[in-house]
């Protein structure tokens, strides 16, 4: 997986003009380089061939149910936060073929579908996103390892980027996931712009990261550069759009199953499942066996699913969680509380996507605050 950083790896500097060399070096090593790019007025993740594909000089304005791109007055390559997509679509694809089966002499013959997994290089992974990947690692690679995820994950080269321009819905500092990315990257970049100078401070996280860096033009970083990079991060940390107190959150939500706030949020929530689609840690899926018209060939597919759908909890003809209220409660309680008991960390990384992409602007940080500020008489069935 991620090997130890080489001993004594000091930071380096890479000129903006040499970033294409980085992209080229990754492609030469067989990686499909995926990075941020603008499509349909949003910053999405897609395969890129060069720096020109990046959202150069763009930034984003985000708030509850609001997302806009706006031009910056500089040419920063990474001067924005995160868009509707996350890296999970590459590691945990929205649709995956699990197996094929064909009617045969002995009932049926099965053909597993997991072959070679593509090797991706992710360029521009934010701190919150890196934390999200590591969060999904604990889901998909613990007691049972998912071969698709594990194969793609081990092959994925991660170039992280420290945020300079958080958005209005960001709260990574509350969740301890940023704005400084890491640990867990192969390389990490901090964009430094000073007058005409446009460079990146590069930190090496692994042997393979060091090897790629060695193959592109780079120079030593001076203490002033490191201080500049630290200042970028500090400034970003002070510009969070949202915040969420987390020290008591598990106990708070475990005691709040009958809190009246759930009725309030249920009156707004459309159960549209956007939040689960954009969330970088949501992992629910469904499995479907489908047959062709002859009935001789079947395929088993895994697809993304959402706990907001009515039939997610279907049992014996009706749903356990029939109301929107119960489904919103399930999602938020899972994300912030039961996830901790399941996997040892919070499920939330503070990326703010669920706030931005909710059509009615439901804000998870505000819901937590409302629950905390209004003590509930009725706890979870206990005195």
């Amino acid at each position: 997986m991620v090997s130890q950083p080489p001993a004594g790896a000091a930071s380096r500097l890479v000129e903006r003009s040499d970033l294409n060399a980085l992209i080229g070096a990754l492609r030469d090593r067989g990686y499909a380089v995926v990075g941020p790019t603008i499509r349909d007025d949003a910053i999405v993740y897609a395969e890129i061939v060069g720096v020109d594909d990046l959202p150069v000089g763009w930034t984003d304005e985000q708030d509850g149910g609001t997302y806009r791109l706006r031009r910056r007055d500089d040419d920063a390559l990474f001067g924005y936060a995160v868009g509707p997509q996350s890296w999970k679509q590459f590691l945990f694809p929205p649709r995956t073929l699990l197996m094929r089966a064909r009617r045969g002499e002995d009932g049926f013959d099965v053909e597993p579908a997991n072959g070679e997994q593509p090797a991706f290089a992710f360029l521009g992974v934010r701190g919150c996103e890196l934390a999200a990947i590591q969060t999904q690692d604990r889901v998909f690679m613990s007691a049972y390892a998912d071969p698709t995820y594990a194969g793609r994950r081990s092959g994925a080269f991660i170039v992280a980027v420290d945020c300079s321009t958080p958005a209005g819905t960001c709260f990574c500092t509350s969740m301890g996931t940023g704005p400084k990315a890491g640990p867990g990257y192969d390389l990490s970049l901090t964009e430094l712009m000073d007058g005409d100078a446009h460079r990146f401070l590069v930190e090496v996280g692994t042997e393979r990261g060091a090897e790629v860096l060695a193959a592109i033009p780079h120079g030593p970083a001076a203490p002033a550069d490191e201080r500049a990079a630290a200042a970028v991060v500090e400034c970003a940390a002070a510009s969070m759009g949202r915040q969420m107190r987390t020290d008591d959150i598990k106990e708070l939500l475990y005691a709040s199953y009958e809190h009246p706030r759930w009725d309030d949020v249920a009156s707004r929530c459309l159960a549209c499942a956007n939040c689960t689609m954009v969330c970088p840690t949501c992992f629910c899926s469904t499995v479907e066996d489908t047959t062709d018209l002859t009935g001789e060939h079947t395929e088993r597919w895994r697809s993304w699913d959402s706990c907001f759908t009515l039939d997610f909890s279907e049992m014996g003809g009706s749903a356990v969680r029939g109301t929107t209220r119960s489904r919103y409660r399930q999602w938020m309680t899972h994300k912030l509380a039961t996830w901790i008991d399941q996997f040892g960390t919070s499920g939330c990384v503070g990326c703010g996507r669920c706030i931005t992409w909710c059509p009615v602007g439901i804000d998870i940080t505000e819901e937590v605050r409302a629950i905390r500020e209004q003590p509930s008489q009725m706890a979870s069935g206990e005195e």
Binding site: R103, F283, S285, D289, S313, M315, S326
Partner: protein, 268 residues
């Protein structure tokens, strides 16, 4: 997520809509399982369903299936010689061994007797390691009783107390009529030193647990078998969550003290 092929070696109709299948692997050995665990049974071209082990022996594993949907109807319609897919075993079982030295109470409602049958078999296989054993069974009617041959064999033993009740009956039934929980107050066990295993519809399990608690059994000594929507059975798809527990891997058997607060809530 890839099933192994098993042949239906034996098929026994238990009730109009319930069949016990004896399955043998086409290749390799049958799975070693713990009582209370389950397999995902695959009907080619239809889909999978989570079915508890209901017995084992002769190189086979047994699963008792009730036809309630497309998959289970297809499973119940299989004939001897047909091939099914099997994934498993999955889940946390009854952990019968942990009850050694104590009395054991088994409370089974309806089809809930199926996942408990391997537990009773495990207890009887090492009878000397356990205190008193009380098996309490509830069914809809006398004709709906499962595993009648086993019930007769267990009842015939002097070292097992078997009490059976049905919801209603005709006059040819000379046993008890009433809710299964009504057999708990008089069952022979020491509440201070008992492990209780309950399986059946969720409402029945709640009331049975209440009756056991009333007799002084500690909530941590009571184990129930939960059921929720299952797709992957390996803790990845998220469907079977019940509070913090994944029913497929933290359960299906869960200690009552752990789940009691959630059982009183609606839509969890």
């Amino acid at each position: 997520m890839i099933p192994r092929r098993f042949r239906v070696a034996a098929r026994r109709r238990e009730l109009a809509d319930t069949v016990t299948l004896g399955l043998e692997p086409l290749d390799g050995e049958p799975p070693q399982f713990s009582p209370g665990q389950f397999d995902m049974l695959y009907a080619f071209g239809v889909g999978e369903a989570a079915i508890s082990f209901s017995g084992a022996g002769d190189g086979r594993v047994e699963h008792t299936v009730r036809a309630v949907g497309a998959v289970t109807r297809a499973l119940c319609a299989t004939r001897r010689g047909d091939v099914l897919g099997v994934r498993g075993p999955f889940g946390a079982g009854w952990d019968v061994e942990s009850a050694e030295g104590a009395d054991v109470v088994i409370v089974a409602g309806g089809l809930g007797l199926a996942p408990l049958r391997p537990a009773v078999q495990a207890l009887l296989a090492r009878r000397e390691r356990y205190g008193r054993i009380a098996v309490i069974i509830g069914a809809r009617s006398p004709s709906a009783l499962l595993f009648r041959r086993d019930l007769a064999a267990w009842s015939a033993r002097a070292d097992v107390d078997v009490a059976v009740t049905v919801d209603a009956a005709g006059r040819d039934w000379r046993g008890d009529v009433g809710l299964v929980t009504e057999l708990i107050p008089r069952a022979p066990f020491d509440p201070a030193d008992t492990i209780a295993l309950i399986c059946g519809p969720e409402i029945m399990m709640r009331f049975a647990a209440a009756a056991l608690l009333e007799r002084g059994v500690s909530p941590s000594a009571i184990r129930i078998s939960m059921e929720r929507n299952m797709k992957c059975a390996i803790g990845h798809c998220g469907h079977c969550q019940f509070g913090p527990d994944f029913v497929c891997s933290d359960g299906p058997v869960l200690a009552f003290d752990r789940v009691a607060p959630l059982l009183t809530l609606r839509e969890v």
